[in-house]
């Protein structure tokens, strides 16, 4: 599954969840399948009891079912729909891994479940996790409670880029933290002060004090961070740091409505610029003024809208920089939302009926961090839709209420006959664009098949990799390259591919953290060529090669 699709799906789901729940009108698929297996400790093979098992439906990025293992380490999930799933398991200090993974960096194996099928021996072995403990103090040597501490892996070195590996823990009143369930390897330990901006300064005990993000062994410069080495099942103690105290600020200002009067009753929210997560929300006072307290230095986006305005009919946004001093007289002026309406054009070759719960959503291009910009709109039975959005350049995305539109994708977006699929639509306050054509199809190309090794046997495990023949498309995030692991029957399947010319290769193991283009370059000669037309489903046979 490509990364970008996962991220977008998560965003769409978040938006869908924010909108009111809509009734599901389609007949529910039968829940007739059963899945069974055991959970073991990887080092000694002992069964693990009370391990938590989570089954995720791949197409919908949502949980199908959960269970806990019994005293013998056995679990059973019943009442399942047919489909493709991944199964992940967690237990105490053990590393969380999915079926088909030996380590969390391996790609998981899908589980293919048919109606009324009993799938057995879906067993998972959990590696014992490493632990990092330490203590966070301020520049006076006093413990700081409430600091977020995380273990992060380097995903690139120049410049050094880190990614969370596991959970974020919070220091207690002694300044102590404990990171657990870590896979063996090298980690950078990062301490950050979470923004807890308060609408009401009197209610916040952390109004004035913040701390600079700090990397072990105690530097604010990511390049000077030192990794901590973790061995399975062992504890690295005293990974302690001292943080520098910085001053948090208060932001005050006014909000003016599109009518030129104080915008009230209204709510104003603050988010870190570039992020979608709201950090604080407060009421705009009757005279249009507001106060937000406890903001550490940084760039923030403010967004105000009238209370009860669920259609985002009128919004005021601005961005501010905070550097320790209070920021006064921030002025926000509301603009009326732009309206986009149009209709769906279904690809002539598409099979099947459009799901009745399809949604279309808007995202701003170049996220400005002003939060979810609009509510997704439901596409009416006659294929028309209407959306409201804050002004700016936006793109349209397809979503659904219950994941039923997963097989559908946008082919093209046209405004006034011009193709704006990739360029986006420029919206001005109060605009009404009524001629948007949204061309959709459910004809997505796919490749599936089997793999044999040099002796002609079907290997138990492999990773199939599909990538474009066009070097220009060897980017980290793009739909032209995807990987797949064999399901429990040894078959792989890669779907949702754009039409194009591809290389396909099956390797024994994909080393994490290696350069993608180097890998593609080495694999090119060993790979099979596959050309896919729009909506084409190909079946191929691949020979196993070495990935290293």
């Amino acid at each position: 599954m490509p990364v970008h699709r996962l991220v977008l799906t998560a965003l769409l789901l978040a938006l869908t969840r924010a909108s009111t729940a809509q009734p599901q009108t389609q007949a529910a698929p039968p829940r007739t399948a059963t899945l069974r297996g055991h959970v073991f400790a990887a080092d000694n093979g002992q069964p693990l009891r009370n391990a938590q098992v989570h089954l995720m439906r791949i197409a919908e990025v949502r949980q199908e079912s959960t269970a806990a293992t019994d005293a013998n380490g056995a679990y059973e999930l019943t009442g399942l729909r047919a489909g493709r799933y991944t199964l992940s398991v967690s237990k105490g200090s053990f590393v969380i891994v999915a079926y088909g993974q030996q380590r969390p960096t391996d790609p998981p194996k899908p589980i293919e479940i048919a109606e009324r099928q009993l799938v057995e021996r879906i067993d998972v072995s959990l590696p014992r996790g490493g632990v990092i403990t330490g203590r966070i103090v301020d520049d006076l040597g006093e413990p700081i409670p409430g600091v977020s501490v995380s273990a992060q892996r380097a995903i690139s070195t120049q410049p050094r880029t880190l990614m969370h590996a596991g959970r974020i823990e919070t220091t207690n009143d002694l300044g102590e933290f404990r990171l657990f369930g870590l896979d063996a390897g090298e980690y950078f330990v990062v301490a950050t002060w979470p923004i807890r901006a308060a609408a009401n300064p009197a209610a916040s005990p952390r109004d004035r004090v913040a701390y600079a993000p700090t990397y072990f062994p105690g530097t604010t410069n990511i390049a000077e961070a030192q990794p901590v080495s973790i061995v399975a099942g062992e504890t690295a103690t005293d990974v302690s740091m001292s943080l520098t105290t910085i001053r948090a600020a208060r932001v005050t200002g006014t909000v003016t409505g599109a009518d030129g009067k104080p915008m009230t009753p209204a709510m104003i929210s603050v988010s870190q610029n570039g992020g979608l997560e709201t950090r604080a929300t407060t009421q705009v006072r009757a005279d249009g003024t507001f106060t937000i307290a406890g903001l550490p230095p940084g760039d923030y986006a403010l967004r105000a809208q009238r209370s009860g305005d669920t259609d985002f009919a009128e919004q005021a946004t601005t961005t501010i920089s905070v550097n320790g001093d209070d920021v006064a007289d921030v002025q926000l002026f509301a603009a009326k939302a732009a309206v986009i309406s149009g209709r769906l054009i279904v690809d002539a070759v598409a099979g099947g009926r459009l799901p009745r719960t399809m949604l279309v959503s808007i995202f701003p291009m170049g996220i400005t961090g002003v939060g979810p910009p609009s509510r997704p709109a439901r596409i009416a039975d006659d294929g028309t839709f209407e959306l409201r959005s804050a002004p700016g350049r936006v793109r349209l995305f397809l979503g659904s209420v219950a994941g039923s539109a997963d097989e559908w994708r946008i082919q093209a977006v046209r405004s006034n006959g011009a193709d704006v699929t990739n360029t986006g639509i420029d919206l001005k306050a109060g605009d009404h664009l009524s001629d948007i054509e949204l061309a959709v199809t459910n004809k997505v190309a796919s490749v599936s098949g089997i793999v044999t090794d040099s002796r002609g046997d079907v290997p138990k495990d492999y990773t199939a990799v599909l990538f474009s023949q066009d070097r220009e498309k060897w980017l980290i995030i793009n739909p032209f390259q995807q990987i797949a692991r064999p399901d429990q029957n040894g078959r792989f399947k890669i779907s949702n591919l754009p039409p194009g010319d591809y290389y396909a290769v099956a390797v024994d193991r994909l080393e994490p953290g290696r350069s993608l283009s180097d890998f593609f370059e080495r694999m090119r000669d060993k790979a099979a060529k596959v050309s896919l037309a729009e909506g084409e489903a190909r079946t191929i046979a691949l020979k196993l090669t070495s990935g290293s």
Partner: protein
């Protein structure tokens, strides 16, 4: 980039942390020091100075615990200090959390030695294990305290709580002194729209090992105390799936609406569950632990709702049938008793009138009336037992007595205390809601047993007739002594108990059990319609229960 700038400002020795934040044009100054209980200075403590109830300035202590709030306008100040893991304290407070002493400040004056001692918050630690004795990760442990909400004494979170780590350990800190009940719950990981759930879950558990809040053991925390080994075992309980159908008054399925399942009695750790109603009227809620629940179905499109009790004892609960009803109507008019002052009666449309229900489904329910200029009103509401309550906001600043509810007349009887039974689909006409401003002022002093004035207390005056202890009763007055050490209350004529108590949890006076205990310390007083009455009271400690 910006962070680096901020850091260098501090590193270069400038004192930006000591600035007052709110630019005030005054010339007065307050200086002092913050220490811990042993006298050790506390740096980076936040200082807040209030002037006449408004925040006038804030600051931070330096490394030696000193603070200096400059440029203050003249006024009467209170100063308090806050630091994480310590208990907030006001200068001159007589008990933890009590009000601070006032500091009169003239223009140009500097007041020094405003020294504040902070005590550490209490700590509770322990371990949570499963039925095998294995540690449980991510159990949520919450310190619960009794609080009074709309006439019900219920366990509410008394602090942020903590989650257990991989070895089952938790540590809750920053607790105010007092009594706590420790509860542990294991929230199942439920991703967005989980479709089926585990058939077994871990029910909320109270220390030392009971699912029943009434059997929980109290943990008493003294200032700065750490209480360890508050250990809990979470055992699995079977969960049930509840399914059924919701119909409307037209007999058709209530598709498009939603159902909400709430525990019948407020209990720790069980949140209301919601589900949508399908086009065929069907709904399903899974993962429900055993207990008595109320299931409410609503159909917003048709403005209908219904309520049914569901008892879950493990095993599937299928075929629950719920019929929603159209809202009932109460109509009548607002009347004003002859004014006791030269002030005219207010416009009827300014009256806040509504039908109030006893605490229900974890939410107070109030249906507001639509009032016309001629004083007639209409309330659209679901069936059930309600109290009609009305009044005007007292914004005269004590210049004139407010208008308050005197009687609710229906069919020749005053239903002000007993309330009104509204049948499903009913229309009740000719209800007269009468307001009066002819209240009597009760005033007096509160002293301790040595005759010293007590200001940090509540004066609670409540009806002798326990039938009048209803939700938002007309026969209750609560206040605190003012700056002149006198309390003042406006009351309707009647027979009352009066009591002055220290350390009363807010809202306790809405609880019948509290009033029963408070009655034993109370003085009887009869309010008649003949001008202001005086009653001095001796403060007593609030009953502990």
């Amino acid at each position: 980039m910006l962070l680096a700038v901020a850091c260098s400002a501090i590193a270069s020795g400038q004192p930006p942390l000591r600035d007052t934040s709110v630019k005030s044009p005054g010339t007065a100054r307050i200086r002092g020091r913050v220490t811990d209980a042993s006298g050790r200075p506390l740096g980076y403590a936040e200082i807040r100075a209030g002037n006449g109830g408004r925040e006038a300035a804030t600051g931070l202590t330096d490394r030696e615990g000193r603070f200096d709030l400059a440029d203050l306008p003249a006024g009467t100040y209170t100063v308090s200090a806050v630091k994480p893991t310590y208990l907030r304290a006001a200068w001159g407070e007589e008990r933890s959390g009590g009000p601070g002493r006032r500091i009169p400040l003239a223009d140009g004056q500097t007041v020094t030695n405003i020294d504040i001692r902070l005590s550490r918050g209490g700590v509770i630690t322990g371990k949570v294990v499963d039925e095998f004795g294995d540690p449980i990760v991510d159990a949520r442990v919450v310190p619960m305290r009794y609080a009074f909400v709309q006439g019900t004494r219920r366990l509410m979170p008394g602090g942020p709580g903590a989650a257990t780590n991989d070895i089952g350990e938790y540590r809750i800190y920053g607790l105010a002194p007092g009594q706590y009940y420790v509860s542990a719950t294991l929230r199942a990981f439920t991703a967005i729209g989980s479709t089926t759930m585990d058939h077994v879950t871990h029910a909320p558990m109270f220390y030392p090992g009971t699912g029943n809040a009434a059997e929980a053991q109290r943990v008493t925390i003294a200032p700065g105390q750490t209480i360890a080994a508050i250990n809990l075992t979470l055992t699995p309980v079977p969960t049930s799936r509840i399914s059924g159908t919701v119909f409307g008054t037209d007999g058709g399925p209530a598709g498009g609406g939603g159902v909400m399942l709430s525990p019948k009695s407020p209990s720790a750790g069980i949140d209301p569950r919601q589900a949508s109603i399908g086009a065929d009227g069907g709904f399903t809620i899974s993962g429900v632990t055993p207990g008595d629940y109320m299931l409410r179905g609503t159909n917003p499109a048709k403005h209908e709702s219904g309520l049914i009790e569901v008892i879950v004892a493990g095993g599937e609960v299928t075929g629950v049938q719920l019929v929603t009803a159209k809202p009932s109507t109460v109509r009548g008019r607002i009347a004003f008793a002859p004014s006791s002052t030269s002030i005219d009666s207010p416009k009827p449309t300014t009256i806040a009138l509504g039908a109030l229900r006893e605490w229900m489904l974890g939410q107070p329910v109030r249906d507001a009336a639509r009032i016309k200029d001629d004083g007639t009103f209409e309330i659209s509401l679901a069936s059930g037992h309600v109290q009609l309550r009305a009044g005007t906001p007292d914004n005269s600043g004590g210049e004139s007595p407010p208008w308050r509810l005197s009687r609710v007349l229906y069919d020749g009887a005053d239903l002000g205390d007993s309330g009104l039974d509204v049948a499903p689909n009913a229309t009740i006409e000719n209800v007269v809601v009468e307001l009066t401003n002819a209240t009597v002022e009760l005033t007096g002093r509160v002293t301790d047993s040595d005759g010293r004035n007590v200001r940090d207390c509540f004066v609670i005056v409540f009806a002798q007739d326990a039938d009048r202890w209803t939700v938002e009763t007309r026969y209750l007055g609560v206040t605190q002594p003012r700056n002149d050490d006198r309390y003042r209350l406006q009351l309707l004529p009647g027979d009352y108990y009066a009591v002055a108590m220290t350390e009363v949890p807010a809202g306790a006076w809405t609880d019948r059990d509290f009033l029963l205990l408070a009655r034993e310390h109370a003085t009887r007083v009869s309010i008649t319609g003949d001008g202001a009455q005086s009653l001095d009271l001796v403060a007593s400690a609030a009953p502990v229960f």
